[in-house]
């Protein structure tokens, strides 16, 4: 899958953007030219200059440094939320096909219930009520994206569950755990890869919304969403302010969506509504 992905021409811009973002995440805090938290009362709300490439904010902090330092938290938080959602969704999704009907019924209703919850309101409620922190925020987002992974892995597992080779394996006395490990997981992986890519984008956008509201990561700690929130308060003085963090968010989410589309095409998977 990897080599076909690299040779795919449509994937190139997406992969390029993601490589740049990965570079920023790995080295962001090191690359930051100044201390992202250092305030300078003599240099408030400056425009771009040689010293401050993206200017300074209302506290005289260097915006470029804050942006670079914020990349790590923003991206890692969304990656971890996706991981939580993946584990919580894929495992019951696969099991729902093979375990008794009662488990299937309960898990389906639970997933329906999760899909009914108003996404951001619930994420905010969970994060804030359980002690406003990044871990809580990641779990809230992870739980809320569980349905996407559950449905995709369940659908993929259903499509192989009645094939003859699985019946043959069962007749030869293979256990359910063995069948899932040996036969089902490999068939489900492409679909999960597609969902992981698009969900990472969705999580990034949600985490940005949360940090924008000051939930999950509390100021002054910089994040992409938090930067946009301070930019909003000084929109009149620095109308170009939201440009850099906004572009970073949009470019990353776009690249992840494009990657998901390419993965879907490579594996000849049917188009599914984005959730």
């Amino acid at each position: 899958m990897a080599s076909r992905l690299i040779r795919n021409r449509a994937a190139f811009p997406a992969l390029l953007i993601l490589a740049i973002i990965a570079f920023l995440v790995a080295l962001g805090p090191v690359l930051a030219p100044q201390d992202p938290l250092a305030q300078n009362p003599y240099e408030l709300l400056q425009g771009p200059s040689a010293q401050h490439w993206l200017g300074t904010d209302a506290f005289g902090r260097d915006v470029l440094s804050r942006l670079l330092a914020g990349s790590t938290v923003s991206i890692l938080a969304s990656l971890l939320s996706v991981e939580i959602g993946l584990i919580l969704g894929v495992v019951p999704g696969l099991l729902s096909v093979f375990l008794p009907r009662s488990f299937e019924w309960i898990s389906l209703r639970l997933i329906d219930a999760l899909m009914t919850l108003p996404f951001l309101v619930f994420a905010i409620a969970m994060t804030a009520l359980l002690g406003n922190g990044l871990i809580q925020a990641m779990f809230a987002v992870g739980i809320l994206i569980t349905p996407a992974f559950y449905r995709v892995s369940r659908a993929a597992a259903l499509s192989v569950a009645n094939t003859q080779y699985i019946e043959a394996a069962r007749l030869m006395g293979a256990s359910t755990a063995f069948i899932i490990r040996r036969h089902v997981v490999s068939k489900v992986l492409p679909a999960i890869a597609v969902t992981t890519a698009s969900m990472t984008g969705a999580c990034l956008s949600i985490v940005a919304s949360l940090t924008f509201l000051g939930i999950g990561v509390v100021p002054p700690e910089p994040t992409w969403g938090g930067l946009l929130a301070t930019d909003l308060t000084t929109l009149y003085e620095r109308p170009f302010g939201p440009l850099a963090p906004g572009l970073l968010i949009v470019a990353t989410v776009w690249a992840l969506n494009a990657l998901a589309d390419v993965l879907r095409d490579i594996n000849a998977l049917p188009e599914e509504a984005r959730t």
């Binding site: 219930a113 804030a128 109308p239 776009w254």
Partner: protein, 347 residues
């Protein structure tokens, strides 16, 4: 497909009568109809129970209680225990849950831990704000999304089609709050056309109401426009290549009639299901737009209360949102059943 090929195709050979056979749902037999409605309602009940259980457990797991807030720092353990008993927080979880559910059924959502106002009253005060914005976003999204999607499908392969596709893929990457900031920049700061904050009730000043919800509604609708346009285009393009369309063309039906009477009915299914999935996100998105535009809406209240640890208010807003979402999906499923009677058949 030629007429000869059409004749070979058994599925596409309706009698060539003067009055074309329009696909109409069968006269509704009220028994099947009722059973369909009943099965839809029955599906919502366990979903409602699970969703409210999650909501209740969230408040319980938070371990928060109103005692410290009310009694202040100098409170003795006895005072705290008395306050907890007043709110019924010293009882077993199961009893608290049943009591809470019984309250919900009666419309009693408890009182705010911070100002003692009944939660339902707080929510009803703020609901019109959120519904204005979300409703307007939904209307804008449906109108614009349908226009773009239908246009892209009719002129598929054209520059318009490519522009719609490009817009849809860009819009899918735009968080609503980023759109909101851009719209504030354009319409408030540069053009000075629309206000960027506050709220005016419709009953006081309809024109002012429309101006004030314009930017938030636009910001929230971008997502819906893009998704609807994409879904409708895909559905329409595949429906347009069906045999019955060729048959309708051969029988001389006008393109407009084919599109709006025959094709749209069949292509609208996935788009409608997508709209049902969008409603929870629309309600959630309202939180961000309401705090950007400092509107006194339900979403902003939920966020503020969550940060204050006002559990009953947060639970109340979640329950009201769940009811709205379930009602919307019920409505959309009924609409689907009317448009495409086959969906009423369940095995």
């Amino acid at each position: 497909m030629t007429i000869a090929a059409q004749a070979d195709d058994p599925a596409g050979t309706p009698p060539l009568s003067a009055e074309p056979r329009v696909f109409r749902p069968n006269k509704p037999k009220s028994a099947t109809h009722l059973r369909f409605l009943g099965s839809l309602a029955l599906i919502s009940i366990p979903v409602f129970l699970f969703a409210t259980l999650i909501t209740f457990l969230l408040g319980y797991a938070s371990g928060l209680d109103p005692a410290a807030g009310i009694a202040g720092d100098a409170a003795t353990p006895e005072v705290i225990a008395r306050i907890r008993a007043d709110f019924g927080l010293d009882r077993p979880v199961a009893i608290q849950y049943l009591d809470w559910m019984a309250g919900l059924v009666r419309g009693d959502f408890g009182v705010s831990w911070f100002n003692g106002v009944p939660v339902l009253q707080l929510i009803l005060q703020r609901l019109p704000v959120s519904l204005s914005v979300a409703g307007a976003a939904l209307v804008v999204g449906i109108v614009m999304g349908s226009l773009l999607g239908i246009g892209a499908a009719i002129w598929r392969g054209s520059a318009f089609d490519r522009a719609v596709t490009a817009f849809a893929s860009l819009a899918a990457a735009l968080p609503p709050f980023v759109v909101a900031i851009v719209l504030i920049l354009i319409f408030s700061l540069w053009l000075n056309l629309l206000p960027a904050a506050g709220y005016i009730p419709f009953s006081e000043d309809p024109a002012g109401w429309l101006r004030i919800i314009a930017i938030p509604a636009m910001a929230l609708s971008v997502d819906i426009i893009a998704d609807l346009a994409r879904q409708l285009r895909t559905g329409l393009v595949s429906a347009l290549s069906e045999n019955y369309v060729t048959g309708a063309v051969v029988r001389g039906l006008s393109p407009r009639r084919i599109l709006f009477v025959h094709v749209l009915r069949n292509a609208a299914g996935p788009a409608l299901s997508m709209l049902a999935l969008r409603v929870p996100m629309l309600i959630g998105g309202a939180v961000v737009t309401e705090s950007i535009f400092t509107m006194p809406g339900m979403g902003k209240m939920a966020a503020d209360s969550a940060l204050r640890g006002d559990v009953p208010v947060v639970q109340g807003t979640l329950v009201v949102s769940i009811v709205i979402v379930l009602a919307c999906s019920l409505l959309i499923n009924i609409l689907l059943g009317v448009l495409q009677p086959a969906t009423q058949r369940r095995d």
